[in-house]
């Protein structure tokens, strides 16, 4: 007895879908996270620029549904201006809450956005280590 999807996005989701913030990527990003969605097969990419461990700019690209686009847009807004420690603490449900809820069947899309951000931060950390480790 499976429930039907409660499709029907909040105004905020539709706003972010129709007017996505921070679309794109950078010529010289400080970190890039790309995750594929194992559930429905979509793709999400988040790129960040970082100065003094503060995310100064962030952009996304999404191959996915309305919810995937909106959550990605939302995550970029939430991460911008935060330290990477703060940004790391953004959870999947924070994104959904900030969007005033997502239909249950679409919750995994908010996972995707938060995961891509976390991966971008991981990538940033890995790059920093490489730079620190590099001779000279």
């Amino acid at each position: 007895m499976e429930d039907r999807p409660q499709i029907g996005y909040s105004k905020k989701v539709m706003d972010h879908f129709m007017n996505p913030r921070n679309v794109g990527d950078f010529a010289d990003p400080d970190g890039v996270g790309t995750v594929g969605n194992p559930v429905c097969g979509d793709l999400m990419q988040v790129s960040i620029k970082v100065e003094d461990d503060v995310i100064t700019d962030v952009r996304f690209k999404t191959f996915g549904c309305g919810s995937a686009i909106a959550t990605a847009s939302m995550v970029t807004e939430m991460a911008k201006g935060k330290t990477i420690e703060e940004a790391e603490r953004i959870t999947r449900s924070d994104v959904a809450d900030e969007l005033e809820g997502l239909p249950p069947v679409k919750m995994h899309c908010s996972n995707l956005a938060a995961d891509a951000l976390h991966k971008a931060i991981e990538d940033y950390r890995a790059r920093k280590k490489e730079v620190a480790a590099a001779p000279g």
Binding site: T34, C65, H108
Partner: protein, 382 residues
């Protein structure tokens, strides 16, 4: 608004509504009642039966059983036939692109001990005739294949299928929900044993559908009760919907050639325009397809977001077989069956036209489609 999802739901034809509304509040008699209000209801019921029979050239109105929905007709056809003829064979065949209301009863029967063969289709959605020929045996009591598919528009080679099935097998059921009133169907000439038809797809109200059952075909009831409809579909007849279906069938028969030529011209123009978009492809058969049906896929973008974009920015309603839009987050089994990869199925868009569409819709839709694809590709990482 440009509504292009007539396969999902259609407005009731105003002429049909004018005809059948009287059965709601005025002539509300129960067709089983013996007083005059009941008798006139029965007359209206039988008139509707004649009209539906005429649309598909059935030998007799008696071959038509009214049900409540296409889902119910498909269930009755499939479960009713399989169960009633179990002693003569327990092998069933279905095509890989059947509607879920055909697929699921078939799978249920499989769980109950029947053998089920799923016959593949080619890249354009046409049944693999050689496979079918191999698969049908004397054990085969029922083969179910759609006359035309609602997601990719492909019209199947009905007479060839019928010939193959009847060489060794027993009964051929065809789901004509998407096809009736759009392509000519002659159940006698075509050799169809059971045929599903839906009222709403013809421009009638929801709440009625029909199952054609050829003379001599034995099927079991699957919803026991008061024994209406020759004992095959119990329940007080929904005369409003049934009379509406009859009237809609009458118009469909009388106006099919003209109306379908009109819709096809619009459809052809739409396809031409949409295919000028980069990396856009038609799905289904390029020519053997429903005249009111266009289906596409667009690389690197996803169907649900296309749908929302078209609706919100342009007031255009379409359907999609994308995984993201489905309950199970699986891509449409029809798109997979014609060989699309998951990511290709993602970008599916289905447009089904109806009476309300005109040539004026073509540039509007084509332009909206181009802008939508452009916008979503600019967001896509691919």
């Amino acid at each position: 608004m440009v509504y292009l999802d007539h396969a999902a739901a259609s407005p009731v034809d105003p002429r049909v509504l004018a005809f059948c509304s009287r059965y709601l509040a005025g002539d509300y008699g129960n067709p089983s009642a013996l007083y005059s209000l009941g008798l006139s209801a029965r007359q209206a019921l039988e008139e509707a039966r004649e009209r539906v029979a005429a649309l598909i050239h059935a030998e007799s109105p008696k071959s038509i059983v009214f049900t409540g929905s296409a889902t119910e007709s498909n269930n009755l056809a499939i479960r009713g036939t399989a169960l009633r003829n179990r002693k003569e064979g327990t092998h069933l065949i279905v095509s890989a692109i059947e509607h879920i209301s055909v697929m699921n009863p078939m799978k249920d029967l499989q769980k109950a001990g029947f053998d089920l063969t799923v016959a593949p289709v080619d890249g354009e959605g046409v049944i693999d005739a050689a496979f079918l020929e191999e698969a049908v045996s004397a054990e085969t009591t029922l083969v179910s294949i759609n006359v035309a598919n609602d997601e990719i528009g492909t019209v199947e080679p009905v007479r060839e299928i019928s010939r193959i099935v009847h060489e060794q097998g027993r009964y051929l059921h065809m789901n004509a929900t998407a096809a009736a009133g759009r392509v000519p169907i002659d159940v006698v000439r075509d050799g169809i044993d059971l045929l599903t038809l839906s009222s709403n797809d013809l421009g009638g109200p929801r709440g009625a559908a029909a199952l054609y059952i050829a003379p001599g075909v034995r099927i079991a009831s699957v919803m026991p009760g008061g024994g209406q409809e020759r004992g095959l579909r119990s329940g007080t007849e929904n005369l409003f919907a049934i009379a509406g279906m009859g009237e809609a069938a009458r118009y469909a028969g009388a106006e099919m050639a003209e109306e379908m030529a009109r819709e096809q011209a619009i459809r052809d123009a739409l396809v031409r325009e949409v295919l000028t978009i980069d990396e856009s492809y038609l799905t289904g058969h390029p020519t053997d397809r429903l005249p009111n049906h266009a289906s596409f896929r667009f690389s690197r973008i996803e169907g649900e977001s296309i749908l929302l974009n078209l609706d919100t920015l342009f007031g255009i309603q379409v359907a999609t077989g994308s995984a993201c839009s489905s309950r199970t987050l699986e891509p449409s089994h029809v798109l997979l069956a014609i060989g699309l990869a998951h990511e290709e199925a993602h970008g599916s868009v289905v447009m089904s036209l109806g009476r309300q569409n005109t040539q004026a819709d073509v540039p509007v839709v084509a332009d909206a489609m181009a802008r939508t694809v452009e916008r979503l590709r600019s967001i896509s990482p691919l």
